[in-house]
Symmetry: C2
Subunit: 176 residues, 2 copies
Amino acid sequence: MKATIFGGKGKIEFGERPDPKIQEPTDAIVRVVRAKERKMTESNELSENLIFPKGEKVVSENFIGGVWLEMLVDKDDTFNCPMYNVTFEPGARNSWHTHPGGQILLVTSGRGYYQEKGKPARVIQTGNVIKIYPDVDHWHGAAVDSQLSHIGITTNPQKGDAVWLEPVSEEEYKSL
Amino acid sequence: MKATIFGGKGKIEFGERPDPKIQEPTDAIVRVVRAKERKMTESNELSENLIFPKGEKVVSENFIGGVWLEMLVDKDDTFNCPMYNVTFEPGARNSWHTHPGGQILLVTSGRGYYQEKGKPARVIQTGNVIKIYPDVDHWHGAAVDSQLSHIGITTNPQKGDAVWLEPVSEEEYKSL
């Protein structure tokens, strides 16, 4: 039996079935994706070495600066594990917010900040794993001179969506 | 307020608190880790470009060949989201097995196989996202000529641990 090859090098292809509820409901969904971008950022020579796709630019009042989002695993009742790749351009960040069921971040590229309300910001970078407890007010984003890419995992998604609060002001951000 | 820096380039450091139940229970655990290895595999010149630590070599009857494991997020009742980095050397693979609550794989490096019982094996490689449905009999591992690293996420961990079945024989593996 020869293995089926889905997607060659540098190619983006989706192996998802048209309707997983009808055809072979126990088939794994192998989502075959490769990042197209592999370039140097202008500001700091840190390689923007994306493993997962950068996705689409986010239009939202909950972000300042350029932010890209690609859903890797949608919210559903089978896996209960929404996952997404998020890329912040230098200087970009999200607003203060909380997750009722918590969140985990896996930093895959670049450097940035993670901060909880009332505490010093922490520098986060490639290889960091960040466990954000339920209902903790926090924000994350890129450094001034580096992009930041992380995979986000919404834990206990049945407890509800993120609660968005006020933006991280220029004053707060620039004081880091 | 200046940001606190945890861990410089190439350094492995753990930011975990001694007892999260007693001290500042809402602090995020920023686990600051960086992979030490960044080398070329001998067999195929694919870069073993590890983002997360390779961890310890696994001693288990459920694996054939060299397999390394690093827990990124332990099983607990807060996040319900165990995560681990698994690296298979060329030719290494796990036995057939099932997950009562499913599993998601994020391939971060290399190339290998994913196969479900009675179906052709599928080639998986860097950037692939694999959603494995609950109770589906399957195995995964490296190609003959490439290592494979993936992050594994046990979904719905409250439904139980993996159920291990028979090994993938040399005959099965070599026929791929």
